[in-house]
């Protein structure tokens, strides 16, 4: 069903993951390696989350798209739970929250699952109708205290955890033309590439930070996010992404640029979610509820990168751009 490229790519990713896991094991054995146990714990947590995500996505190459869409729905649902649990709401928000969870979240994924033809619907249901519904429902319940703040929090949760993330599985139904203008149909491989680049972006940025991080960007938001980590991470992600162009519909410089954007957006996502957590006085969404590994902690970068990557692909690698230029010429 898939050409050898998919196999090579997925196999390569799994090999990298195995190597990382082994490296973690070796460093764990060697207590004298100078790394603190806390760092090691974070490291192995991240590697396990990677494994899980990558296995799911590798499986996505072989299952029908609706299965992948359903998995992303569950991830969104859980991330939204974490987000809203962390956010103080009042009793007057209860009914609005109920509809956010049982109507808007599933509806978004049902529309995404119905395919790219429904783009005009799923691209506006949450940012327009959800956006208007939430404050209206809160207002009807009659509690004016911190009204704007409360509605903004629910809107933000819905947009970040559900709307933004849903653009990752939406990649599965884009009618892509590659850089030569030929049809490119291996969409699940593109989704795999995208998620992998987001993770690589996180990892490289973390590595640069550990190696040369000095100039902290915003100490009050995250004391260990540095300019060195950001620039080094973004730069090296672009290189890695460009080197993997053969698994994408892009040529090498296009793939590098796409990866650069993914890395920048991923970093932005991590910074924003850190800011939310700092404001609430917790370090992880996971520690808020002990025993849960914090889905949102792992998905923050994905949430921010997904809609941008989707739309860049849609603008430049579907017939959207061709139509647009024809229309411009006609005018």
């Amino acid at each position: 069903m898939h050409d050898p490229i998919s196999w090579i790519f997925v196999g390569g990713v799994l090999a990298v993951l195995t190597a990382t896991t082994l490296l973690g094991q070796v460093m764990n054995r060697r207590a004298e390696s100078g790394l603190s146990p806390a760092v090691m714990a974070t490291f192995s947590r991240r590697v396990w989350a990677w494994w899980l995500l990558m296995m799911v996505l590798a499986a996505a190459l072989f299952v029908p798209p609706w299965v992948t869409v359903t998995i992303f729905f569950l991830l969104s649902f859980w991330a939204l739970r974490e987000f809203i649990t962390l956010t103080p709401t009042r009793m007057g928000d209860h009914r609005a929250l109920f509809w956010v969870f049982v109507l808007f979240t599933p509806a978004q994924y049902v529309l995404v699952g119905m395919g790219g033809d429904y783009y005009p619907l799923y691209s506006i249901v949450i940012p327009v109708y959800g956006f208007l519904f939430v404050p209206a429902r809160v207002a009807f319940s009659g509690d004016p205290k911190r009204f704007l703040e409360r509605t903004a929090k629910i809107q933000a949760g819905l947009l970040v955890c559900v709307y933004c993330l849903s653009f990752a599985p939406a990649l599965l139904d884009l009618k892509i033309e590659d850089f030569n203008g030929d049809a490119w149909t291996d969409n699940s491989l593109l989704l795999f590439y995208f998620v992998f680049m987001v993770q690589i972006g996180d990892a490289l940025q973390y590595a640069w930070e550990k190696l040369m991080g000095r100039t902290v960007i915003a100490p009050h938001i995250s004391p260990n996010k540095t300019w060195e980590g950001f620039l080094g991470g973004v730069g090296s992600t672009a290189l890695v992404g460009g080197a993997l162009w053969w698994a994408t519909p892009f040529n090498h410089w296009q793939a590098a640029l796409m990866s650069l954007v993914i890395a920048v957006m991923g970093f932005a996502g991590v910074m924003c979610m850190s800011a939310v957590k700092r404001d609430r006085g917790v370090k992880d969404y996971g520690t808020l509820v002990v025993g849960h590994s914090g889905v949102l902690d792992r998905l923050d970068s994905l949430c921010f990168a997904a809609p941008v990557f989707y739309h860049l692909t849609k603008f430049f690698f579907t017939d959207f751009f061709t139509k647009l230029s024809q229309a411009a010429i006609a005018v």
């Binding site: 649990t85 109920f98 509820v289």
Partner: protein, 199 residues
């Protein structure tokens, strides 16, 4: 069977993470006492117990809520609830006597000593029932439980739950000291629940 499914649904819905601090789940006879903020408390706490403990545990629940309507009555019977009428308390038939009779020598009990659903952030004073339970059955271990966030899953006056994440913490059991005055014991019990909120 229905009980297991019900517990599963309650767990999924409340996303409960369960912590046992200085306390292990056991099938011996105990009385779990927790803060009370939602009608779901009894069900969520009961569901968070391991299955073999759960089988031997009966939550005390308000008859005016769980006894009303066929569905709620059915559900309450499935999670083995002990329905207590809060309005019709007779001298010779006090709730404590009823509870003791119902649990016999085998069942554990879940009680909410605040006596009503509390919407304030701080705990209310405990009612004396917990003290009399422990006094009449001195071997009963009283296990403090703190339930976090259940009030947001199903707040007072709402009937549709929102699936947020909750956290249930079991703490170190306390025993009624010999000759310990009622007020001291209840204050100590209340303090034990408050302590759990902070850990």
């Amino acid at each position: 069977m229905t009980g297991t499914i019900l517990a599963m649904i309650a767990k999924l819905l409340s996303g409960a993470s369960v912590r046992w601090i200085d306390c292990q789940p056991e099938t011996r006879q105990r009385v779990y006492f927790a803060n009370h903020t939602s009608h779901l408390d009894a069900l969520v706490l009961w569901s968070s117990l391991p299955v073999e403990v759960r089988r031997l545990t009966r939550p005390v629940a308000a008859k005016d809520y769980w006894g009303r309507g066929r569905l709620r009555r059915y559900l309450a019977s499935r999670f083995n609830a002990l329905l207590i009428d809060r309005r019709d308390i007779k001298v010779h038939q006090s709730p404590v006597d009823l509870m003791l009779r119902e649990i016999g020598e085998t069942y554990s009990l879940i009680v909410f000593p605040e006596g009503h659903r509390n919407t304030k952030p701080q705990l209310d004073e405990f009612k004396s029932g917990l003290y009399y339970l422990c006094k009449k059955r001195p071997h009963l271990e009283a296990v403090p439980v703190h339930m976090d966030n259940v009030n947001r899953v199903l707040p007072r006056g709402e009937f549709l739950p929102v699936p947020l994440l909750t956290c249930i913490t079991f703490g170190k059991p306390i025993l009624l000291g010999e000759g310990e005055p009622k007020r001291d014991f209840l204050a100590r019990a209340r303090e034990a629940v408050i302590q759990l909120r902070e850990t």
